[in-house]
């Protein structure tokens, strides 16, 4: 059974219909320890006595606001908190995350979206500290091993430099999608990366020499003229 599904989830919202709906979605998803509160005071005492593992907080409560509730909770608990707000304003968003909220969902939301975010937060906080492994993927006969930072092809292994590795990783994360040269430069050289486009081109050419059958006619690492590059859909090997 999924480790996160037995976590205690607290829903705080002054709208009974919303509480009920969220509870319904959570139960349908497999969560079975769901607590509900409709105001600040109840929510705080529930937090103290039931010690939930995560909370979904509405920003606007009849006897206070969710941000100060979060501050109070933080004084005795580090449980992950996801804000649910009908005010989509940016300041709210920044304030909520600045206080140590783990995520922020704006109403109206799709249930799938809420559940996905909650799961992500729970996995991040309670999930087994899985060793982050970098992808290994196959492009025709070449295997790009980002974990080992090599390209394996007939006739041996070609090591990848740090920059080539960073570029390939960014492209792989967005495989099948155009990644602008700006985004690639930022991924490799950081925010102050203006003017690296030519260097990027050089690195891309070297990568092609390693991963393409015919580097002059690339089939995997494609140039999208005027925009950036795209890694044609690649198959992960594990």
């Amino acid at each position: 059974m999924d480790m996160v599904k037995n976590k205690k989830i607290l829903i705080v919202d002054d709208e009974p219909d919303i509480r009920e709906m969220i509870e319904r979605f959570l139960r349908k998803e497999g969560f079975f320890r769901v607590y509900k509160a409709d105001n600040y005071a109840d929510a705080l005492s529930l937090c103290r006595y039931e010690k939930p593992d995560a909370a979904i907080l509405d920003v606007m409560l009849p006897d206070g606001d969710g941000f100060s509730l979060l501050s109070s909770i933080r004084s005795f608990s580090d449980m992950p908190v996801l804000f649910l707000s009908a005010r989509g304003e940016d300041e709210d968003r920044l304030l909520g995350l600045g206080l140590g909220a783990d995520d922020y969902v704006v109403k109206p939301f799709l249930p799938r979206e809420l559940i996905l975010r909650l799961m992500a937060v729970l996995k991040r906080v309670y999930g087994a500290p899985a060793v982050e492994r970098l992808p290994v993927f196959r492009l025709e006969s070449q295997v790009v091993d980002l974990e080992g930072s090599v390209v394996r092809r007939e006739g041996g292994e070609l090591p990848l430099t740090a920059k080539e590795h960073a570029i390939l990783l960014k492209l792989y994360e967005n495989r099948g999608r155009i990644v602008t040269s700006d985004a690639l430069c930022r991924a490799v050289w950081g925010d102050e990366s203006y003017g690296y486009e030519n260097t990027l081109m050089v690195h891309v050419r070297r990568i092609r020499e390693k991963i393409e059958e015919d580097p002059s006619k690339p089939a995997h690492l494609l140039t999208v003229r005027g925009l950036g590059y795209k890694l044609a859909a690649a198959r992960e090997t594990r």
Binding site: D17, A86, G88, P108, P111, T180, S181, A183
Partner: protein, 460 residues
Amino acid sequence: MDGAVRILRRFVGSTILVSVVLLVFNLILLGSLIFKEIREGPSPEAVVRQLDGGLAKDGRGQYGLSEESHALLKAHRAWAMLLDGDGAVRWGERLPAEIPRAYTLTDVAKFSRYYLMEYPVYVWEREDGLLVVGYPKNSYGKYQLDFLVEWLRSLPLRLLLLLLCNAALALAVSVLIGARLIRGIRPLIDGIHALAKEKPVRVENGGLFSDLSQSINSASRMLQDKNEALKARDEARSNWIAGVSHDIRTPLSMILGYASELEEREELPAEARQQAAIIRRQGERLRSLVSDLNLVSMLEYEMQPLQLKPIRISALARQAASDFLNDGLDDRYAITVQVQDESVLAPGDERLLYRAVTNLIQNSIRHNPEGCAIELRTLRSPDEGFCHFVVSDDGQGIPREDLPDVVKLPYVAGRKRPSRNGHGLGLPMVARIAQAHRGDLILDSDPGAGLRAVLRLPLS
């Protein structure tokens, strides 16, 4: 400040002009009014000279006066006598009885200067003696003027000095009065200037202009009150829209939530699930409408905070184009990016600018269902200090006369036609985002020749 100095200069100038005109006028009056009746008829000297001409010895050695000289003498009620070298009267005409008939040297010296027994007398030197003409008593006053030669010589200089002193005095007095006037006006001028800048004004009352300063104060009060009322109304409107959209969000959450749940229920008939999908999609449309409405109203009433940072607009163009291509842009549409200058940085709110650009692209897509080629261009503007982000298409375009309308909010007075597709907030939002960045949105189009939208943004 400048205005006050100008007024002072004007005032001093006109004061000096008035002084000069007054001086000239006085001189003319002096000549024509004061020195006009200094004497009646010809001057005594002229009479004496004429008499001298008319007095002649006849053949027998007797003196005789010509007819007209005689008449002249009579007209002036004067008398005349001729003294010889020894002081004896050789000839007389109309001599009063009290006049002596012989004179000593002292007598002559005395009367030639002043009076002879209170008769003002005038003398003329002749070959055969001294002609003396006496006017009636109390008819003329005789004064002797004596001047130092040095004084006379320096007289022009002194007169000039006098004039200069006068001019200086006039200048000083006018500057003094003018300065006082300006001191009175200065707060008023400052007040009016501040009024033009819509700053609160409180001009001190008192003095010559108390009613004026009162008017300025009340005008300022009125302006402030009006501005505050306007601001309050804008805020109320924006808050109202924010409140309404907030209140819509909760029920919309339920609609979206349950509709998508129904959509995913395997046990439901396909038709019901399709209908649930329609409800969910319409709910999502409503969601974007609500948030767009909120954003536009915040922008409209200048309540949208901007998180400004330098934005590389070429990168923004590539990002927007890539996102459209990545999200499965239909093959009917082509999207290209042209960058003229990579280095152009404009301070902007990245999220809002990205929104503006995507709205423009979305607009081109929506208005050309048969497809079109969309081009994004970034360039330095020909006018200093601005850059252009151009989104153009080769589609149907918008009739020129409708262009001003499409950036107006839907349903406002003056927007003629309801927007045909979409909720009509797209272009108005772009225009307001541009304005929030102190730039503007320039639309250019001809039917059939495509639409060209230029986001003009200040560089700093």
